[in-house]
Symmetry: C2
Subunit: 461 residues, 2 copies
């Protein structure tokens, strides 16, 4: 398109800010929108985070570099005060590159599959594991075939169900999180999990998992989706009844020191009432942690920048938190809530973005019905960005990092909703790089978040 | 994200098809959705179109290759009959690469800017044009400074206004379409237009333009957005009062033969009632014509494939049209409507997708109020895909290629709406390549289009 786009285009401009602002709030939200869409710094911040810091797994050198980056970015955005909040974080290291494949006598014919050890798992050690692979589609099949499992590597080949749209991840991630112990229960010696992604490519997607303390711990890896299909064919074909060699070299070191990175604008009228907005600073080690969760971080920082640039003084304290260790421990979020409790802070709202930066559609609203009713009245301020989908949740649901705060104080929560179909294509893999993020979509997310913070700050909840 | 995603995710699954289908239509639309999301061929079709055919400008070898690709793809999708509809198309060729820059005596210091001749423009010829550049922000400034224009190259440096969201293109494209004649009116010798894009990079974005037949025709080029900023600085700085050298080598050849490529499923009850669905097969010459409009083509073809795969027999005739020459002539669409008129065909609905394949949000509905009221009743079938935004338009608005049909028959129209923030980043430039399209978003667009075709076929309008 388009030769003569006028009729088509005119139709759409009615959704932009073409009408005169109806009131002071419309006007302020229009200013926020214009400033971010024309002069936003979220995208350039994401560039430096992705390209000069890169991956930021808890305990790694990247984590410390990321903390310094965060302090600087918050200062540059204009925060009144910027500080670190210390917490202990797990220090899991991947070590030497993993190997999964069939070793033949003629080494030229080795078949390898792209795998990544799952976060927090134990390793096979130098000797590796040599065992037959048994493929199961799901937990039901595992239970039915439990007699066949002993001494084998269980391969959970559960597909990412694209028909579930935003529900596909939650449906499939069970195998990554609980698969290792479920298989160990029946005597498996290791686990391979199909990557939890809708993408069909050769990147394995790692992520955390949970060992049942009452069961043996077994090494576990994620295999790329292409690799999963190949392995599935190979064990029925060329490598039938043969043993696969698996080697992982990861290690859980003693806990180490990490930090939440925090920047605030002090409230003018109610400085003791705190609005927390954030994402997590840590990331998995492949890729650049750009979508997960660089985007959440830079959107949050942008809220301080836009308020300061517009000379807007909030009534309440706006606290931007770049949480430590969301990926494999949630220690930053836990520490944040503990400290808040100790200091008897008053937390009136928490907002999180940890789902990438696709086109924003609205918020999950984890709050009381009365609070939700109030929020519903603000829908009109989000129509211009087509982001007025406010979805009620009475049990939190805003995000992992603001969960502990909700448990501590019943703080009402907002979790940003986006169209959300591309995020898991890159999530926890080497494909999570800066180039996958679109500047305008990132800025629109920041507009929507800043607008809601403005309204909650002004009117409370 | 996410460590403990269950509460977050469960919230969303209610929007997917988890509830029992309420009726036959829900069930059919669920089947369409499942088939396309799990087994869709649109993405692999887009791959072969982008990578084995590539750019398909009218009259080029790529156009003919594209027509053959289209015939084959429609046959493979299962169309009952597939044929070509001949039309004459303009045959504009770019020729040798353009040059725009300052030539200094020491050739090492030449400054070049990335430019592309606008479609259908005349060339400077071998000798090029050597003239000073005058920069104007808009038509108003051009009018005010008309005395300064004679003998100069007018540089329209009008920014893509990102705050207008979907309206930004229509707002800025005026300078590309009408800028050359507007400048020629005051004696300009050539025109440079800032690329009509929200992307900030070094790709020029071409596109068609319109010469006023009563005014001298002048050569015109698009300059990349980075190039535009550099040129703007250079003419105030290092190259103040110096002459820029511009050379373009394009040429309008005599009209040549092109074709609309058509595939049909014959209706079982009302074969004479025609539902036309399409996009355009031609594309600009840089890039691969992947988003514009490869995506529109492959989504349309997918409708035939899904109906055939599900064994669904429509009542009316579903006609998929891969239109010729949308970009620089609209001859395919014009021919299609003329033939329809000559044959006295009955066209009950037309649908177009020519805005890329981002997340679908609904349709522009160009129809009567009564027809729109009927369509409104179907919203429930589009909620699962978050694509229930049906926007009324009483003057067409569905798209350029179904415009002539609307003028001929007042045929009600649907134009697919997507979130639409990434399309113009790549549009008409070398960046319009396959890798910019997301498979799931493409498939969701096809689901939404096929679902609406199913409903209109079943119930009429």
């Amino acid at each position: 398109m388009l030769k003569s786009p006028y009729s088509f285009i005119l139709f759409f401009t009615i959704t932009a800010f073409s009408a005169p602002a109806q009131n002071q709030d419309s006007l302020m939200i229009q200013k926020i929108s214009t400033e971010i869409l024309l002069n936003g710094k979220a995208y350039s911040n994401l560039y430096t985070l992705s390209k000069t810091v890169g991956p930021r797994l808890s305990g790694s050198a990247g984590m410390y570099k990321g903390e310094q980056w965060g302090l600087q970015a918050l200062k540059e955005a204009g925060a009144d005060n910027v500080y670190l909040q210390q917490c202990m974080v797990p220090h899991w290291v991947r070590g030497k590159k993993e190997f999964a494949g069939y070793k033949t006598k003629n080494r030229k014919n080795d078949t390898q599959y792209k795998v990544l050890a799952l976060g927090n798992t134990i390793a096979t050690g130098d000797k590796g594991i040599l065992a037959e692979v048994i493929e199961v589609k799901n937990f039901d099949e595992l239970d039915k075939r439990k007699e066949e499992v002993k001494g084998k590597i269980v391969f959970f080949n559960y597909p990412f169900n694209k028909t579930l749209l935003r529900g596909a991840y939650g449906d499939a991630v069970r195998y990554r999180v609980n698969g290792p112990s479920a298989a160990a229960k029946y005597g498996a010696v290791a686990v391979i999990v199909r990557s939890v992604t809708g993408a069909y490519d050769d990147y394995p997607h790692t992520g955390t998992m949970h060992y049942d303390e009452n069961l043996p711990k077994v090494p576990a890896v994620a295999i790329s989706t292409m690799g999963a299909d190949k392995l599935s064919a190979d064990i029925k074909g060329v490598y039938k009844n043969e043993k696969l060699f698996l080697q992982t070299n990861c290690k859980m070191q003693p806990d180490t020191i990490g930090h939440n990175v925090i920047g605030e604008i002090k409230g003018s009228e109610f400085p003791d009432e705190i609005i927390t907005v954030g994402g997590h600073l840590d990331s998995w080690d492949p890729g650049e942690g750009a979508s997960d969760d660089g985007t959440g971080i830079v959107k949050s920082i942008e809220i301080i920048r836009v308020f300061k640039t517009l000379g807007y003084q909030p009534k309440r304290t706006i606290r931007i938190v770049l949480f430590a260790n969301e990926e494999n421990g949630l220690r930053g979020a836990t520490k944040y809530a503990e400290e808040a409790k100790l200091k008897n802070e008053k937390h009136i709202m928490a907002m999180e973005s940890d789902g990438g930066a696709e086109y924003p559609r609205g918020f999950v609203c984890g709050m009381t019905k009365d609070q939700y009713a109030k929020v519903q009245n603000w829908k009109k301020y989000f129509e211009h960005a087509d982001a007025a989908r406010f979805a009620f949740s009475d049990g939190g649901g805003g995000g992992a990092d603001i969960g502990p705060l909700q448990q501590a104080f019943k703080t009402p929560q907002f979790g940003l909703i986006t169209t959300g179909q591309r995020y898991f294509d890159v999530h926890h893999s080497a494909a999570d790089t800066f180039d996958k993020v679109n500047a305008q979509e990132l800025n629109l997310c920041a507009v929507v978040m800043a607008s809601m913070v403005y309204l909650v700050d002004k009117y409370g909840l």
